[in-house]
Structure formats: structure tokens, C-alpha cells
Symmetry: C2
């Protein structure tokens, strides 16, 4: 199977540009802020000192993964922004994990602190292997960044323990985690260590998943609970313990599981098959469409793509799932997982704008999966989706100042829905109308931090004779082609500007191919090599310049960046009669702050040219001005309904800014999909 | 205060027309079906024989009200469709209630069967006074229909008991019911018996409601539950008892309340004030807008309007609430209560189409309130709203065959949302995508039945010198003006046809005024008396013909009935860019059965004339044909998003049928608000 290797994050020097700026904010603000936040919320204390009834915080069963992701993020910065202090912090945390490790290698702070006797008894809900997976990723990152093997050794001992208890052999639990993650982490560990056993473990989890009899059902039967009803009671022993100790007078031991029953009940999704919520409704090769929890699905698909390098049938499955996702269930921002209910996919062509979910982590998962698909097949659509997700659905997850986060990324905002509407909405912090400092379940902020810190690792891939450039941002690499060290530099302000200059400086003249992605959104492009226009045709979305490169060679790629109005497939009922505006890969939106209230009343004249206004910019991006009309409210009166002939319209200009920067100016209306004539 | 009296249901003979047909189906199909359904679901058995662990059904704490509403509905038919069998049935049920009555007059089947010691301890949730109210209404109706006082006597004894326990005097519970109903019922009883004490009880409940300290809070404190948290645990003792007896091994006594905790938690609506769900967040005169549970609000407003006859300040409040409701929160169908969450109002100008609620009972409540407002003020807008609700949001509650019901009345239907979407939606029978035979909570079917059975009572009102005609349907009355018996007949097929003929036949020539409502939807009308065109101006929406009437006099009112396209207030974001089509008072909708899938992709050309097609009719109504366009799907391909220039459109005719008849042909798409150019 064809296979390109991506250059490692640490081998890509990002000197500036939009992603460089995002990396600086991430290093200087977001990651330090997360350390502070974890301190304040008790996460570090829980790891280091355990829990007792005098502690005010309530631990969550996957806090280990939060810390692991932060270690991973901070580890990446040791190269881009070396800091003794950060390294000491990480060593300190790693030492705490080491102390927590049981003599047989088991390592989970939550179970250790509360209920070690229940370990490996509720893989469906309790995230033990998920936490292990994030610790593996942290270990690999820290090893790659610092050369230190401490965490790697700890986690390898833990994997021995896991392997002793879970696996296909008789006497072991024939199970897998409710939340995939360990599978992709094991493949990452395999690639670093070349230890076949990690590949085998990953492969086992993937092959076992969704087979009959369903493991999650068996696991429930072990507790004598009839899951087919469906009404499985999970027993989150830790939560129970905490609450029980806190209110010994009032709490009945049976009440915790019962209180959570309704939630679990909702997780069971009969119309998509039992356990579809966990992507465990069928053996992986039989999965027909993305279903259930979006992040779970993405992490699973990542591992499937990793394994597909060795198994063509998994590639087939991945291709099918990709088509079902990208052609039917992906927002224009690269947001996925439409439904607030259990953070999941709904169904094909259902893309609600208000009330959507689009978890930041889900877009990150899509980005990670797309990269893996790109390793397997050189098709620009994978990189197009990466770009779409990165600049829109992922970057919207963090505020401009780096200190506030979206968990759900709204596609439309009508603030009264949050201030006066549903109590359910008001009481769920993950669907907040403005970015928040933290969440009751706070997976997204550190996930964003680790992605941005390692973003260089998604730019370039190579094989023996070629360099492939997938994402454009100011950056430089050095790589040896035919043994000749070659420096390659991107000089560009893409996607703010349309010009990308690539400087090639080999130590000696050397022949290799440079593949450049022509972005899917781009209608008109041109390419010059040493100021000479090239006649090139793109193949699978890439152009290839194959030649003898010498010092001082220069490629100029110009990707014309006119604003474009997009319409959605007519099967998407929520977007009928509406358009979305993009400039390059950037999705724009209308915000109340630049316009007026009742944004939905604005109708864009879609035959008119969109004006690009660069005197006012947002993080360097121009605003877009759109001719349109809206109702003359002064003529309307108090009526709720009127004969259409009574309606008067006035001309008005609508202003749009990049979607990812919305909600940086307080609570207000926002629209991506705009009514159009 | 001005006051017109409506002629009683039994004094209006409905000979035919749409409402006559509906009455016939109601008598012959719906009411017998409900008797059968109540038999099958155990409602009658529970009343007559009590409950024990061998019974398979699970009683609901307001089953008494279901039976009461059915008695009321059947009682009305004793005049329109006399039947010994029905009368015996009713006597039999009344006897059962009598047997259930405690020695001190207390009467509630649920508490009697399960937990009499807990009576009057949870007025917020347990619906005791609500059930009493429906029994009062049944008693009044049966007395009016048959002259029999049995049920009236029973209920008057019960009211003595209630009055002993609840009221403003020291030592009594200073409370009121979580669900208003008894107040309007007491006023009805007062009007029949002229017993002042019933007026005083109604007045007490109204005046006490929402005052501080909040009764519902006090009631909770009595159980040592901190309701301000908010997390009040209701104890539905009966449910607990049933389930407990059923599964003595598994059920923990504390589990029932806890399992219901989340639901109650949601009922608390901080943004509208505590207890807004129950319209008990402020003293009634301080209520600013309709909030909380829609049916509760409507029943409360009915009683407030009843009392407003004696208190101008209550009329002011009613007027304010009316404006807030009708100008800001009423669907074009007269549906109200937007939110599926706790069956409640959301906020001004929020009128979601998909996922709306619009309980049938809420529109019935609005209809009842509007009638009472019309007693207080002769303004046609009240009757316009009655008409709007009746022909659309209420009649949609029952299938054409009379045997299936909507609880929530959808304003748009996309079936996949129900078959593949949310589990919450799939598991809630009250928001079913097709009409159902019954519901877990089945208040609407009998409410519909009693309204249709008594619909004549909403047509005509009188004062000393005038007759007021509010609703048009084939019917006749006899009334004495200045002592002269006069027969008045309406000959019309309104609202299918635009012509209304009124025949006046006094026994002798007599002078009185006839007020005719000019429907709010009507742009062009004309009125002829004895074939002579009248020059009349409407005042408050009514024209008045004041003259000496003699035998054979004839009024002809022609209300031009062209299809009209309506737009919603621009503040209604859900309807931006859309129109709704009405012909006369009938709201039309597009259904998949007459059109195609992806109805939302259809765009009506709003400048084109709507064609009225009478060769194909639905219950006698013509279909409407609308010129428009839709996307050429064959040109689209698999893409999810495309440049607007790639989109090709084709011409197509859209067909619309009366909204109230939707979903009589199985599951399919439906739209009321249609995209328009």
C-alpha cells in the first residue's frame, strides 16, 4: 500500500503566519492557563494527594486524560518554546503518576483513589483504557520532545497489566473501551517503539469491537443487569463515594445509579443498533455510517486508518465511512456530531444550525483521521477537510485571547434561547452561548492545546523521492533527498493572503518531486517556478513539480481568493433558501456586533458581488460586506402575521467576519447560513 | 361592565356544515371509542374496583379528570344524540364516584385507592383540585343535559370538604393547585347554582396564587425539602406503590422520587421566576407575559376572565396577557406553548416549526379564554383567535376518522427526525409524528371530544336587545327579544364557502340588533338584507343591523375567500424568508403525499396567483396549487456544499391541503411555512 510519512511536529519550524501566532498564544497563554485551571479545580491535587471528605472538588473519572493531554501539549512546546520550568512541571506530574502506579502496573488515579477493586469492571462507561491511551500519547510526545523515557516506561508497564487482564485469550476479559483512544495511541507507540505487541493490542481492540455477543451486554450481565431493556444502571463508584461521604445523612446508596439511569437510557440508541453510541453496534468492517458519539467514532476511525496500512479491507471501510460523513453529515465548518443529545451524529443531511453540537474535540478527531487517510491515499480532499476543520470548527473552540473555550460550536446563535429558553440548555455548560473558562467535563481545551502545539506535524509528508505540502503556513523544514540535505521554506500569509512562496535550498543540486495541494475551494490558481509560469494539471488535487532543485529555487503558488457563496445540498432542510460565504478556506459569519439584531431577517442579494473590506480586519482577515435587504420594522407594527403585500423592505449592507472569531465581543446573535434571494 | 351571555350549547342546534359533521363523528366514533379505550386501559376498573398487585395497568394520578371530561362530553350528546345507553353509562360512572366518596366528602380515586393519608399534601404536583374541577364541569354539563343532580350533589359535598381544608382562614392550607382548572369550574358552578360560596372559592384561589411566601415552597418545606436549590423530590405515592408492589425485590423505596427528580428539576424555570411553570411566580395581576405550562396558563386566564366581570383590574391583566400571547407567542394555527420541554411557553417571537409542541389542550384553553374575553369586550379579534384555533390547531388534534389524536401538533414534519433522530423524541409518545390511539398522559382526546360536543355554545351571544354572531356554521336558535320568540337560522357552508345566509323568523315583528363578525382575515365583504345591499361600517370587527325584523327576513353576508400569503413578524427568526398560505380561516400546509420529498427545497413564487382547485377536495375544502421551483437534484451530484452558481432550478407546482387534515395518510413530510421568493 502506498504510504507517505508525515514529518514530525518537531521537524517543522513554524516561524509566523496565522498558525504561528496561534502557537505563540497557545504556549504563552492557553497552556499556562490550563496548568492554573487544573490546579484550581483539584485535578493535580487528586493525582498527587488523593481525595478525602474535606476536599471541596468532585473528581471526574477521566481526569487522568485531562492531565495527560496537558502533558502532551506542554511536551510539544519544549521544542518550540524551551522552558526548564515546564519540563520540571511535567517531570513532577510524571513522578506523581509513577507513585500512583500499582505493583502490577495498573495506573488509574480515579480507581486507585476510590475503588481499586472495581477496576476493569465497567469498560463501557469508566474510560480506563481511554485514559491509558492519552497517557500513551503523552509519553510518546514527551519522549520525542525530551528524549526522557520515564513516562514511556510507566505506561509500558501499565500496558503489560492491561494485556494480562484484557485480550482474546481464555480467562481474559474479551473487551474494549466504551471510548476508543487507546487503539490510536497504541499505534503511535508502535510506530515509536517498533514493538509488535502494541500493534497487536490495537488490532485486537479493533477486531473485537462490535462483535457478538456484545461485550457491553456481557459486562452488564456480569452485574445481573438486563441491558436489552434498555435500562442499564451504571455504578460510577467514585461519584457515589464522593457524594455519599459528603452527605451521609441524605444519600441512599442506591440513588446514585438511579439518578444516572435516565442518562444512560438515552445513550442506548435503538434506531442505529444497540451500542451505536459507542461505535460498537457491529464489527468495524460492517459499520455503515458514522453513528453515535462523534469523538468516539473519530478516534476509532483514526486507529482503523492506522491499521489500514496493513489491511486493505479496513481502508475500504474507512473510505465508505469518509464518504458518508463528508458528503452527508459534515458542517461547512468541519464541525461534526450534530446532536446535543449524547454528543452524537443524527442522520444523513440533518444539519441543524441552532441547537447543533459540533464538539471541538470531534472536529479535532476528524482532522486527525483525515491526516491518516492522507497517509494512505494522496487525495487533496483529505487535506481540504483538515483545512476546513482547522480554520473553522477547531479554531472557533478557543477565544482570541487563548483563555476561553467552546465545547459545542454553535452554527447560529440567538441569545434569548439561552437566557430565556430551555432550562435544559441553561443548565448544560457545554452548550454555552459564549466561551467558558472551563466545563464540568473539560476535554476540549487541552485537546485544542495539544493540536495547536503540534500543528506543524500536519503540514508536510514525504516518501523517498517526494515532498508533499498539504497545509500552507509560514514554516521551514530540512530533509534529505537522495542524501542531500535540503531546506524548504514556505513564505506566506495564507489563508489571509493568496500567495505562497516556497524556497528550496539543497546543499547540492538534487532531483525530487514537490507536490503542492491545490485547495478544493480554489477555482483559479497559477504556479511559477523561478518566475516562469508552469503548465501543470492537478491530479487528485495536487500538482507535482519534478526537477533538479538547486540553491535559490523558488516556487510561487497563487490561489485566487474571491468570496464565494455556497449553497447546501437540497436535502439539508435547515439550509434551504440560505447561503454561506467563504473566502478561501475561511467560513464567514454575521454577528450582531457588526450588524443589527434579527440577523435572520437579512436577505443577501446573491447576484451582487461581495465586497472585501481590508481597512477593518479581524486577526488580519478582511471583513466581507454583502448587499441585501431587511424588513422595514417601522412599517410593521405589532402584528405577528401580515399579508405579504404589507411587508416593506429596505436596502442594507451586511457585514461578515471569520466564523472562528465569533463571540469574542460578548453575547450576541450570529449566523453562518444567511437567507438569500 | 358590559357583558354578553353566550347561548348555551344545548340551545344551539347544529344541523350540518363542517362543525355538524365533526359533531357527528365525535358522537358516533370518538366518544364511543374513548369509552372503549378507558375500559381497556383500566381507567373504569380503577374507579370501580380499585387496584391490586394483580392488575396489569399503571394508574395515573389524574385519571379522574379523564373520566370527568368523558362524562362531560357524553352529557352534551344527550341533547344532540339522545341515547339511553349513554345515559346509563354515565349514571353508572357517577354511582362509582359516589361510592368512592369518603364520609367527609373527599373524592379522589387515586388517593382513595393508594394513599388517602397523603391527600392535600402535594397540591403542586398531584392534581387533586384539577380533578375536582373537571368533575365540577362534568356535573354541570350532566345537570344541564339531563336535569339530574346526582353528580352535582356529590361534587358539592366534595367542595365542602375542600373548603374545610384549604382557604384563607387560620388552620387551613393556604394553597392552590399546581394545575388551574377548579377556578373556572367553580365559576361555571356559580353561574348555574348562583351560590356565592363557589365564586368566593374561585376568587380565593386566584387571589392567593403566586403571593409570597410561595405556597409551593411552603408545601415543600413541610416535607423538609429545599426547593430553592432547585431539586424538590415529589413523591407520587401511588406510582411508587404500584411499582413497589410489582417488583418487591428490586425497587428501593427511595428510588421512585429520585428517578423523577430530574423531571421536576427541569420544571423549575429560574429565568421566568420560580414556579412560573405553574403561573404561580407572581400574584396574578403582576403576571407580565404567558409563561410556563401553556394549558395551566390558559385555564387560569379563563377563570381570571370569569372573575373580571366583577373586577376591572383583572380585565386589565387579561388584556395585557392577551396582547403578549397573541402578538408574540401564537402560531398561525392558534397553537400555543412552543416548547416540548415541560409543555411550556418559551419567549416572545420564538416560534419553532419543527420540534414545536402546541398541545391540543392548550389551543382548546386559548379558545375557551377567548370566548370569555368576548363576553367582556365585543372585539372580533377574540372570535378571530377562536376561529383560528378551532379550524387549525384544535381540529388537527383529531384524525378524520375520529379515532386517533395528536397531543403535540407539529408545524413541520421531517419523519427521519422521529425514526432516526433523537432518542428522547422517539421515547415520548406525546410528540408522535402521527396521530395515536392514546397517550401515556391522555388529556387531549377527551378535551377535544367535550369541546366539539359543546361547540354550539360558542356561536351566539345575546344581551337584552341584541344578538351577536361570532362563529359561522349551519345552525339555528330560538330566542326571545322583547318577549317575542324569534327563530334565527344560519344557512352556510362556511368556512368551505364564503356565503352566509341568516334567516330571521320572529313570531311577530320585533326590533333588535344583529351583530355579525367580519372575520379578521377578510379583505372584502358585502352584506345584503332582503337582497338589498347595506352600507355598513364594522366597529371592533362587527357590523350591526338594527331594525324591525319580520318573518322571512334574510341577511346575506359574503366574505371573499381568496388564498392569501402571510409573512411572520421579522422577529420570528424561524419563519424568515417563508410564507404561510391561508384561505379564509383555514391554514394550509404542504404534505409529501401530494408533492415530493424535501418539501423545504420548494420555493413558492409569491408574486404568482394561487390556484384554487376544487375538483379534488379534502373534507370539502379545495386544494391550493402554488407555482414555484425546486432544485434539479439530477444536476446536483453527491456534494454537500456547492458554489451557488452550480445550483440549477426547475419549475414545479406545489399542492397544499388544510393543515388540520395533515397526517391522515401515514407518515410523511409536512410544512406550513414555505420558502418564498
Amino acid at each position: 500500500m502506498e504510504k507517505r510519512k508525515f514529518l514530525l511536529w518537531k521537524d517543522v519550524n513554524i516561524s509566523g503566519g496565522l498558525l504561528g501566532e496561534k502557537q505563540r498564544v497557545n504556549e504563552k497563554v492557553t497552556i499556562p492557563y490550563l496548568f492554573q485551571s487544573y490546579e484550581e479545580t483539584g485535578r493535580f491535587d487528586f493525582l498527587k494527594n488523593g481525595w478525602n471528605i474535606h476536599k471541596k472538588y468532585e473528581p471526574h473519572h477521566f481526569w487522568d486524560s485531562d492531565i495527560a493531554k496537558l502533558i502532551e501539549a506542554a511536551a510539544y512546546t519544549l521544542i518550540t518554546n524551551p522552558s526548564k520550568e515546564t519540563e520540571e512541571r511535567l517531570d513532577n506530574l510524571i513522578e506523581a503518576f509513577e507513585k500512583k502506579q500499582q505493583s502490577d502496573g495498573y495506573l488509574n488515579t480515579y480507581f486507585s483513589n476510590f475503588c481499586i477493586e472495581y477496576r476493569f469492571t465497567d469498560l463501557m462507561m469508566m474510560h480506563e483504557l481511554y485514559c491509558a491511551g492519552h497517557l500513551i500519547e503523552a509519553a510518546v510526545a514527551y519522549y520525542e520532545a525530551s528524549g526522557k523515557r520515564t513516562l514511556l516506561n510507566i505506561i509500558c508497564r501499565y500496558l503489560e497489566c492491561i494485556n494480562t487482564h484484557i485480550g482474546k485469550e481464555n480467562g481474559k476479559i474479551h473487551g474494549y473501551d466504551g471510548h476508543p483512544e487507546i487503539e490510536l495511541a497504541l499505534m503511535r507507540l508502535y510506530h515509536v517503539t517498533s514493538e509488535k505487541k502494541y500493534y497487536q493490542m490495537a488490532s485486537y481492540y479493533i477486531e473485537e469491537r462490535g462483535t457478538k455477543p456484545y461485550f457491553f451486554e456481557e459486562e452488564a450481565y456480569a452485574e445481573k443487569i438486563d441491558i436489552t431493556k434498555p435500562h442499564r444502571e451504571i455504578y460510577d463508584i467514585g461519584s457515589f463515594y464522593v457524594q455519599n461521604k459528603k452527605n451521609t445523612d441524605n444519600i441512599n446508596p442506591m440513588m446514585i445509579p438511579k439518578a444516572r439511569q435516565e442518562r444512560v437510557y438515552k445513550w442506548y440508541l435503538p434506531s442505529k443498533g444497540a451500542f451505536a453510541q459507542f461505535s460498537a453496534n457491529a464489527p468495524v468492517r460492517e459499520l455503515k455510517e458514522p453513528a453515535g458519539h462523534a469523538v468516539r467514532a473519530m478516534y476509532l476511525y483514526c486507529a482503523m486508518a492506522d491499521l489500514a496500512e496493513y489491511d486493505e479491507t479496513l481502508l475500504e471501510t474507512c473510505r465508505r465511512l469518509w464518504r458518508e460523513l463528508v458528503d452527508k453529515q459534515m458542517y461547512i465548518t468541519g464541525g461534526i456530531g450534530q446532536s446535543q443529545e449524547c454528543e452524537r451524529f443524527s442522520y444523513a443531511y440533518d444539519l441543524p444550525n441552532e441547537g447543533n453540537y459540533c464538539e471541538t474535540c470531534a472536529s479535532i478527531g476528524l482532522f486527525m483521521w483525515a491526516k491518516r487517510m492522507l497517509c494512505l491515499e494522496l487525495k487533496s480532499e483529505y487535506a481540504d477537510v483538515m483545512e476546513r476543520a482547522l480554520y473553522n470548527g477547531i479554531m472557533s473552540g478557543c477565544s482570541s485571547d487563548g483563555k476561553a473555550f467552546f465545547y459545542a460550536n454553535h452554527m447560529a446563535m440567538y441569545p434569548k434561547q439561552y437566557t430565556e429558553g430551555s432550562y435544559v440548555i441553561q443548565s448544560e455548560d457545554r452548550i454555552s452561548p459564549i466561551r467558558r473558562k472551563t466545563f464540568s467535563i473539560s476535554c476540549c481545551p487541552a485537546n485544542y492545546a495539544r493540536l495547536i502545539a503540534s500543528i506543524g506535524g500536519y503540514f508536510y509528508s514525504v516518501d523517498d523521492d517526494n515532498l508533499y505540502i498539504h497545509l500552507y503556513n509560514e514554516s521551514s523544514i530540512e530533509y534529505c533527498f537522495s542524501g542531500i540535505k535540503t531546506k524548504i521554506e514556505q513564505i506566506t500569509d495564507y489563508p489571509r493572503e493568496e500567495t505562497i512562496t516556497i524556497l528550496i535550498n539543497p546543499e547540492e543540486t538534487v532531483k525530487f518531486g514537490i507536490y503542492l495541494r491545490i485547495p478544493g475551494w480554489c477555482r483559479q490558481w497559477s504556479c511559477l517556478v523561478n518566475n516562469e509560469k508552469q503548465k501543470l494539471k492537478s491530479k487528485n488535487g495536487y500538482i507535482c513539480i519534478q526537477r533538479e532543485w538547486k540553491q535559490g529555487d523558488k516556487i510561487l503558488l497563487i490561489t485566487r481568493m474571491e468570496p464565494v457563496l455556497y449553497v447546501a445540498n437540497p436535502k439539508v432542510r435547515q439550509n434551504s433558501g440560505k447561503i454561506a460565504v467563504m473566502r478561501g478556506p475561511i467560513v464567514y459569519c454575521m454577528e450582531e456586533a457588526d450588524n443589527f439584531t434579527e440577523l435572520s431577517d437579512f436577505v443577501i442579494r446573491s447576484s451582487e458581488k461581495i465586497m472585501v473590506e481590508s481597512t477593518k480586519t479581524f486577526e488580519g482577515f478582511p471583513v466581507l460586506c454583502m448587499k441585501g435587504r431587511k424588513t422595514d420594522i417601522s412599517e410593521w407594527g405589532n402584528k405577528l402575521y401580515q399579508d405579504i403585500h404589507e411587508k416593506k423592505q429596505i436596502d442594507v449592507i451586511g457585514t461578515a467576519i471569520p466564523y472562528y472569531m465569533w463571540a469574542n465581543r460578548g453575547l450576541g446573535e450570529m449566523l453562518v447560513w444567511i437567507n438569500a434571494e
